[in-house]
C-alpha cells in the first residue's frame, strides 16, 4: 500500500530541468532510498513530499491528498505529520539542542513544559544523545548534529520521516550508527521513511526499496536485490562507481 505517490511530476529551476515526468510510489511502513547523481533532483523529491516545492506539472499525493492543491493551513497540518532531517541538520543556532528538539512540540501541541522536557530527553536518548539539552548546536560534532536533527524530526511521532543525506561526510563508525538509528526509529514509529543518500553501503543496509533518479526521471525501482541485479547500464555504472559508461561525467 502506498503512503505517497509522485505522479508524472515535472519541475524546472530557471532553464534547468530538475524533474521530467517523474513518477514514484512511496510504500507505507517501508524505507525507500533515493539514489542518483548529484543534482539529479533527489532532495527536490523530498521537498515535493512536504510541500516545500510545488511541481510545474503533475501531482504529489500524500495519503491520497494532493499536496499541490493544499491551502496554507492544510500544508502546516501536513508538515506537522512529516519529519524532515536536513543534510547539515539545520538546527537553529540561536537555540539550545533541547529547545531545537522541543520546537515542534511547543509550536504545535498543548503539552505541558514538563511533558515536553520528558519527551525531548527520551527522544534525544533514543538517538544516543544524553544530557546535551543545554548545549548549543555549535558545540556538537557532525555526527551529534545529525542525530539531534533526527531527534527534532521524529519528536512528535510523524507518520513520514524524510532524511536528506543523513550520512554524508561522516566516518564509517558514525555512518553505521546513524544507519542503525534510522532503521530503529522507523520501527519505533512504525512509520514511513524516505532517505536520500549517496552512501551505497548504508543504503543497502537499510533500504526496503531503492529508486534511482537519472535526468529527472526514475529509471530503476525495486528491492535492494532487484536494483543490484538491474540490467540497466546506467544503474550498474552508478553502483560500481565507474567512470566508464553511459553516465556523462
Amino acid at each position: 500500500m502506498s503512503f505517497a505517490f509522485i505522479d508524472n511530476v515535472s519541475l524546472r529551476f530557471g532553464q534547468k530541468v530538475v524533474l521530467q515526468n517523474c513518477t514514484l510510489e512511496i510504500k507505507e511502513r517501508a524505507i525507500t532510498c533515493l539514489i542518483g547523481m548529484s543534482g539529479a533532483g533527489k532532495s527536490t523529491i523530498l521537498r515535493l513530499l512536504n510541500g516545500l516545492r510545488k511541481p510545474d506539472s503533475g501531482h504529489v499525493y500524500v495519503k491520497g491528498v494532493d499536496v499541490c492543491c493544499m491551502s496554507d493551513r492544510e500544508l502546516i497540518q501536513l508538515r506537522t505529520n512529516i519529519g524532515f532531517s536536513f543534510q547539515f541538520a539545520a538546527l537553529f543556532d540561536s537555540l539550545t539542542v533541547g529547545e531545537n528538539v522541543a520546537m515542534p512540540l511547543r509550536e504545535h501541541t498543548k503539552k505541558s513544559e514538563a511533558e515536553i522536557e520528558r519527551l525531548v530527553e527520551a527522544t534525544l536518548d533514543s538517538v544516543g544523545l544524553n544530557h546535551i539539552t543545554e548545549r548549543m548546536p555549535s558545540e556538537l560534532s557532525g555526527g551529534m548534529l545529525k542525530r539531534a536533527g533526527f531527534a527534532r524530526a521524529v519528536v512528535n511521532n510523524p507518520e513520514l520521516v524524510l532524511y536528506d543525506e543523513p550520512t554524508t561526510g561522516l566516518d564509517p563508525i558514525i555512518t553505521h550508527v546513524l544507519t542503525d538509528t534510522i532503521k530503529r526509529l522507523r520501527r519505533q514509529l512504525d512509520g514511513t521513511v524516505v532517505v536520500v543518500s549517496h552512501d551505497l553501503e548504508s543504503i543497502f543496509a537499510m533500504a526496503d526499496y531503492i529508486a534511482m533518479l537519472f535526468e529527472g526521471a526514475i529509471i530503476e525501482y525495486g528491492t535492494v536485490e532487484d536494483v543490484k541485479r538491474s540490467l540497466n547500464p546506467i544503474v550498474q555504472q552508478f553502483l560500481q562507481g565507474s567512470e566508464v559508461g553511459p553516465i556523462p561525467i
Binding site: 516545500l52 501536513l78 508538515r79 536536513f86 539545520a90 538546527l91 543556532d93 509550536e107
Partner: protein, 259 residues
C-alpha cells in the same frame, strides 16, 4: 537588442523586488494585526537591535549636535542673532537630523545584522527547516524584529535628540557664550513639541523600512557566504536610499503646511 534585453531584465528585477517587499510587508503586518506575536523573541530583538544600538546613536547624535551648534553659533554671533542658535539646533534636530541620523546608523548596524543573520539562516537551511516544521519564517523571524524596531526606533530618536540638543547647548555656551537660558528660550520659541512627535513618527516609518528591506534581502539570499555578503550590503544601501527618499516625502506631508 542586448540593450533592450538589459532594460527588460532590469525592469523585471525592480518589479520583482517591489513585489517581494510588498508581499513581505503585507504578510508581516497581517501577523501583527492578528496579534500572532512571539513576545519573548520580540523583547530579545528589542535588546539586540535597539538597546545595543544606543551607544552609536548617542555618539553620532552628540557630535552632530556639537557641529550644528558650532557652525550656527559662530554665524549667529557675527550677525548679532545669537538668540536664534537654540532654535536652529533644536529645530533641525527634532525635524530632520534626529530621526534621519538614528535611522541611518541603525540601518548600518542593525539592518546589516538582520540581513546577515537571516541570510546565514537561509544558506544553512534553517529557514527551510522552519517551513518544514510547519512554521512561518515571516511570523517567526520578521514580525518580532518589526515590532521591536517600531518600538525602539522612536525611543532611540528621542535619546539622540536629547543628547544632540544638550551637546549643542553646551557648545553654544562654550564657543559663543550663549547662556543656557537663552538657548532654551530660543529652542522653545522655534520648535513646537509636535515637531518631536512628528520626528518620532518618521523614526517609526524608517524602522519599518529598515526591517522589511533587511529581512527581505536576508530571506532572498542565494549562493552561500558570498550571497550573505551581497545581501548585507544591498540591505544597508537600499535601506539608506529609501530612508532619504521617504524622509523627503514625510517632511513634505508632516511639515509642509507649517513651512
Amino acid at each position: 537588442m542586448k540593450v533592450l534585453d538589459d532594460v527588460g531584465d532590469g525592469t523585471i528585477g525592480i518589479l520583482e523586488y517591489a513585489g517581494g517587499v510588498a508581499t513581505l510587508s503585507f504578510d508581516a503586518l497581517s501577523y501583527l494585526g492578528r496579534l500572532k506575536i512571539r513576545f519573548g523573541e520580540t523583547l530579545s530583538q528589542a535588546y539586540l537591535l535597539g538597546v545595543q544600538s544606543t551607544t552609536i546613536v548617542l555618539l553620532t547624535s552628540l557630535f552632530t549636535g556639537l557641529v550644528i551648534a558650532f557652525e550656527s553659533a559662530q554665524q549667529a554671533t557675527n550677525y548679532g542673532v545669537s538668540t536664534l542658535v537654540g532654535g536652529a539646533v533644536t529645530y533641525t534636530t527634532a525635524r530632520e537630523l534626529g530621526p534621519m541620523l538614528s535611522a541611518v546608523v541603525v540601518a548600518g548596524r542593525a539592518g546589516a545584522a538582520m540581513a546577515a543573520e537571516l541570510g546565514s539562516m537561509v544558506v544553512t537551511e534553517q529557514v527551510e527547516a522552519l517551513e518544514a516544521l510547519g512554521l512561518s519564517p515571516v511570523q517567526q523571524l520578521v514580525v518580532p524584529r518589526l515590532l521591536a524596531m517600531i518600538v525602539m526606533m522612536p525611543l532611540l530618536t528621542i535619546l539622540g535628540d536629547v543628547i544632540a540638543i544638550l551637546g549643542g547647548m553646551w557648545l553654544a555656551r562654550a564657543s559663543a557664550g550663549i547662556s543656557y537660558d537663552t538657548f532654551i528660550q530660543s529652542a522653545r520659541a522655534y520648535t513646537p513639541f509636535g515637531d518631536f512627535l512628528k520626528g518620532m513618527i518618521k523614526a517609526m516609518v524608517f524602522g519599518v523600512i529598515i526591517v522589511i528591506i533587511s529581512c527581505y534581502q536576508g530571506l532572498a539570499t542565494r549562493g552561500g557566504a558570498a550571497g550573505v555578503g551581497k545581501s548585507t550590503t544591498a540591505a544597508v544601501v537600499t535601506s539608506i536610499i529609501l530612508i532619504f527618499a521617504t524622509n523627503f516625502i514625510l517632511s513634505y506631508l508632516l511639515f509642509g503646511a507649517t513651512k
